[in-house]
Subunit: 337 residues, 2 copies
């Protein structure tokens, strides 16, 4: 298996990306193609004190760099020699099995759609992060790729999440829930009402509407949403976790005794922190593209980027895209454009 890694994307590129990719090649039984400015990658290696390219790693030069100020919608056409453009073209042409980038979400989304292309018949690609719940974990789809959605998009997201949960998370017959402001079938706006009807008629294991609170409680394995609402949900979870962890820290740091208490549970707390740590959860799958594309966090360090590569390996093994492709007819409600 060969993973194509975007060496130039993310706040800590290229140093941390290079290190993460090298660690992945060493630890994960995988070949890595680092795509980016060769000069910068060699510079990072020098900084890291690594003289030779590790086994199973190769570099493909891509002299142009996508910048934060570039328009995500057009940069892919303008900078043909960027790591994003070169890497996604390699993915399309079979020179690698998956593409991992910590760069701009918007540019990755439009690049993957324009170059690597969606699974034929799917209307939109969607971002599908995995979140912890009281009883395990679940896939949220979409968390921000599509603000405006139709019921058909959401039906397709549901299938995308279903195959991902089954193939990558290894959940049998995943329970699909529709994110809504109440459990009753009459809840939500017209988008939720129409999507509910489609999901009920589908071949999916649809468990009905799921409120945010119940999703965190473990009510479903796949939580379907338009990208706007999914983004509000995801960032509310992140913001609340961050608030509580900082409150907890100030509780622990308040007196000498509480500091001792903190020492006692330090190791146990690590488990809880890990569960919420984006660096360990890995990246977010961009589903609906014909080949696996993973968005690593923009702030990825080497460990986070290695986790994202691990996730890409899982997705390559699970054949989500080909399962979507085979079953796409049952996910259409309107004729092809």
């Amino acid at each position: 298996m060969k993973i194509i890694a975007d060496a130039m994307g993310g706040d800590n590129a290229p140093d941390e990306i290079v290190l993460g990719a090298f660690n992945a090649a060493k630890n994960l039984d995988v070949d890595i193609v680092l795509v980016g400015r060769e000069e910068s990658i060699l510079g990072s290696m020098k900084k890291l004190g690594i003289d030779e390219l590790p086994k199973r790693v190769e570099i493909v030069d891509a002299p142009e760099v996508v910048l934060m100020e570039d328009d995500p919608a057009t940069v892919i056409r303008v900078k043909k020699q960027s790591s994003l453009n070169v890497g996604l073209t390699m993915l399309r042409d079979g020179a690698g099995d998956a593409f991992v980038s910590a760069g701009s979400t918007g540019a990755l989304l439009s690049g993957a759609t324009l170059i690597t292309k969606r699974v034929r018949g799917l209307r939109r690609a969607a971002l599908a992060p995995v979140l912890p719940s009281k009883t395990g974990k679940f896939v949220l789809i979409d968390c921000g790729a599509n603000s405006d959605c139709t019921p058909e998009y959401l039906l397709q997201f549901a299938y995308m999440g279903f195959y991902y949960a089954e193939g990558v998370l290894k959940i049998k017959n995943p329970r699909v829930g529709l994110l809504n402001n109440g459990a009753e079938s009459t809840k939500g706006t017209s988008l939720q009402l129409e999507t509910y009807a489609l999901l009920e008629k589908s071949t999916l294991n649809f468990v009905g509407n799921v409120e945010s609170k119940d999703a965190m409680g473990g009510a479903c394995d796949v939580l379907v949403s338009d990208g706007f609402t999914g983004n509000i949900f995801l960032k509310a979870v992140e913001g609340t976790a961050s608030l509580l962890m900082s409150e907890l820290k100030s509780v622990f740091m308040s007196t000498a005794l509480t500091k001792i208490s903190a020492l006692i549970i330090k190791n146990k707390m690590r488990g809880l922190k890990d569960k919420l740590n984006p660096d360990l959860i890995g990246g977010t799958a961009l589903l609906g593209i014909s080949k696996p594309v993973i968005k690593a966090h923009g702030s990825s360090n080497a460990m986070a980027f290695e986790s994202a590569i691990r996730q890409a390996i899982g997705e390559v093994g699970s054949n989500v895209a080909s399962r979507l492709s085979k079953n796409v007819e049952q996910m259409k409600i309107s004729s092809d454009e």
Copy 2:
């Protein structure tokens, strides 16, 4: 000041409501009118071992009871002798200064709108809970009264939240943010884009779009949203807090040593728990109604109901409704219906 309390609403009515109302009369320098089935209220008193009606408390008999299975939209017309109908009519007629109920949100919303009525010129009433943030607290408006909203509704919610934050939370010139999936002014669906333009032109202290995560970090004092999105946000916060608290509990309970650690920080943890405890936060204001109406949590115990009464007292003192009424002209963008 006189607060009208719905003795029959909520999972623990009438016992806990009666006790909470009695405690409020004793602790909060306020007169209480308990509205509900007199027989049931007297029965609760007997159970609680209270022989005589406390000072400053009176009972108004309302023989009919709103049930969970009643249609919230019509029950107010059908059961004219329910505590909800009688209490809201008293509020309208000046027989009390505020109404507090732990009963059905939908019935309270339609009852308040039909009987007590909205401030003239306001299109919709909205639910406005107060949430904790890293730097203090903020009002979320709307959290579920209106799934489908127009930009004008959201502009009005912004003013409602502004006057509430200023009057009840005592925040000077509250910062108003629009809940959105990114900070840039181009983010969101057409609802957010159009609302952004209205808020920018308004006289409010508008700080722009606010992501869920940043709202929890303290980015604004008033977070404006349609009721669907606000509900998703609110329940994601609740669900995440609940997940983390239960994870934390299992960390603390895992070994003898961690149990000792838990004992050490027990009192300090109480502060954190209190910050997240709906029983202490009080109820949720139903803003936009011509008189103060507070929705206490459905699962309110006596303490929670007393907190909701405390909140009602704060709202009566702050004249939110009359400030809205005086400034309603600048909150209109379409002509009156």
